[in-house]
Amino acid sequence: MSEKIKRFPGEELKGADIRVGKVPTIRFRPRVRYLWSAGVAMSRFIEGLKEGKIVASTCEKCGRIMVPPRAFCEECFKPVDGYTPVKDTGTINTWSVSYVAGDASRIKEPILVAVIDMDGASTGMGLLHLLGEIDDWKQIKFGMRVKAVWKPPEERTGNITDIRYFKPVKEV
């Protein structure tokens, strides 16, 4: 309230008032479900994940090796020329530390997310993924080297989560 107005006229509402129907509302839960065709490029990527490989597509015109793969080069606007696996190691491009879960609740153990430039892919191309095996997020640095930690082959389903996370690696 303000200095001049101690209490606004009318009845104050609490969240519970809406739940018990004190305020008229209509509840509806939509049934919306999708089954996207992965298509030419992403099918190769998904199949690659099952085999523990990160698949890129290549454009001979601009020379780029593109992760994630696509069926066409968006820069040159032409179909790609081929598909090739890249390494499962890379470098941290940018990162964040999320103390809030998907449902907006606060979490104690933060989720570490990073964009990783993959080795073998063109500059600035790679994967968005999670970081793991890091005790204190203050250890994360730009240019930090990381490697994919894969699920065992029998647990892979052709999903980005076939990679559990990326962990720091020491270069020899």
Binding site: I26, F28, P30, R31, V32, R33, Y34, L35, W36, S37, A38, G39, V40, A41, M42, R70, A71, F72, E74, E75, C76, F77
Partner: protein, 384 residues
């Protein structure tokens, strides 16, 4: 006076299912064909603006706009999405060029309903949550309600609606882009399962996947890009009301208002005489008759006679849906109106293959956004 032309078209064609390609790859194919058709222009430098027509719930993305640029060659270019039917998208592209700030605009629309597991639940989600959704049922009963009143008010018949199905599915056999070409007669339609009385199963369009891209240009550059530009002489659109309780159930008032807007711009006073052919929405068989009347291509109540007497068939005096319409090409969500535009362009360019009409100069394309909407749009196109 600045004029607007369609200088390139490209399509993937339409199929019941397309498990082999993603929506992005589908759009890329249509765009590649359109750019080549428009004098092989490069989207990376020759196109001033891009418009994609898409609806988030159909796509399964919120803010689908963001997923569009790559496959159109529009990365780091001027692009936005129009949430509406593709003829509303055409109207937007037309206006961009009319401003004088844009010379070449790409217009894209696609449908991939086979990616939606709960297609008709998404349709139901378009109905009023307080008044209508709790009643349940399949949302297409809304079309049944309209057909009942339309036939009662106008005297058109269920048999005449069945003839529309026979005509359009037959026309689709001559259209390689069409998903549902078939040799179907009136009895087949009348004997098919009751679905939403008075609609039988064959009166209802089936979903199809496909994409279309068109390139629009100002008259200043149209000649450089195309030897056979098709001119957009007028566009119009209108909406009635979402209220199922109070809307007009007999006439397609939205289409009448949209058509009047487009005709006025195009200088057409007597459409039944000045228009050579039409592509109209026929998501349900009766909608073709209702829309023909709304577009004043015949007198009220006479659309059924037109199909019965062969006038709306290929070779008649007012051919309608030579493409096969939505009944023949399929219900491709927001791209349904773009199918109507595509056929109008192909006919005016003389590129409609074995279904080509002779001596056509003025065509009308009309769209409806489907159940439960009362939104429609109209474009008048000419080849001179």
């Amino acid at each position: 006076m600045r004029e607007v032309a369609i200088v390139g078209v490209g399509s993937t064609g339409f199929r019941a299912v397309t498990p082999d390609v993603s929506y992005k790859e589908m759009m890329f194919e249509a765009a590649t064909r359109a750019y080549q058709d428009a004098g092989n222009i490069s989207p990376r430098k020759d196109i001033d603006a891009f418009i994609s027509v898409a609806e988030d719930y159909w796509e399964g993305f919120s803010i689908f706009d963001e997923f569009v640029p790559d496959q159109l060659g529009a990365v780091l270019r001027h692009l936005f999405t129009v949430c509406g039917d593709s003829i509303i998208g055409l109207s937007t592209a037309y206006m961009l060029i009319k401003t004088g700030h844009f010379d070449v605009v790409a217009l894209e629309s696609h449908g991939k309903p086979s990616d939606i597991l709960t297609l008709y639940d998404v349709v139901q989600f378009a109905m009023d949550p307080m008044l209508n959704r709790p009643l349940g049922g399949h949302p297409f009963f809304v079309a049944g309600l309209e057909m009942t009143r339309f036939l009662y008010e106008t005297g058109n018949t269920k048999e005449q609606c069945a003839m529309v199905v026979s005509k359009n599915r037959g026309n689709a056999l001559a259209n390689p882009y069409a998903a549902y070409g078939a040799d179907i007669d009136v009895d087949d339609v009348l004997c098919s399962n009751h679905q939403f009385y008075p609609l039988n199963q064959l009166d209802v369009s089936q979903p199809s996947d496909g994409g279309i891209v068109m390139i629009l240009a100002s008259n200043e550059v149209a000649a450089e890009l195309s030897d056979n530009p098709v001119w957009v002489k007028g566009v119009g659109w209108a909406v009635e009301t979402p209220s199922l309780e109070t809307r007009c159930w007999s006439d397609a008032v939205y289409a009448r208002i949209a058509a009047d807007m487009a005709y006025k711009k195009a200088g057409i006073g007597n459409p039944s005489r000045e228009v050579d052919f039409a592509e109209v929405d026929d998501l349900f068989s009766y909608k073709e008759l209702q829309h023909i009347e709304a577009l004043r291509l015949c007198r009220p109540g006479e659309a059924g006679l037109l199909v019965e007497e062969g006038e709306t068939w290929i070779g008649g005096s007012m051919p309608v849906n030579t493409s096969g319409g939505n009944l023949g090409m399929g219900w491709a969500l927001e791209a349904s109106g773009m199918q109507r535009l595509l056929e109008t362009v192909l006919q005016l360019r003389g590129e409609a293959g074995s279904r080509q009409l002779s001596d056509v100069d003025v065509g009308v394309a009309q769209s409806w956004r489907g159940v439960p909407t009362t939104t429609g749009a109209v474009a008048v196109l000419t080849n001179y």
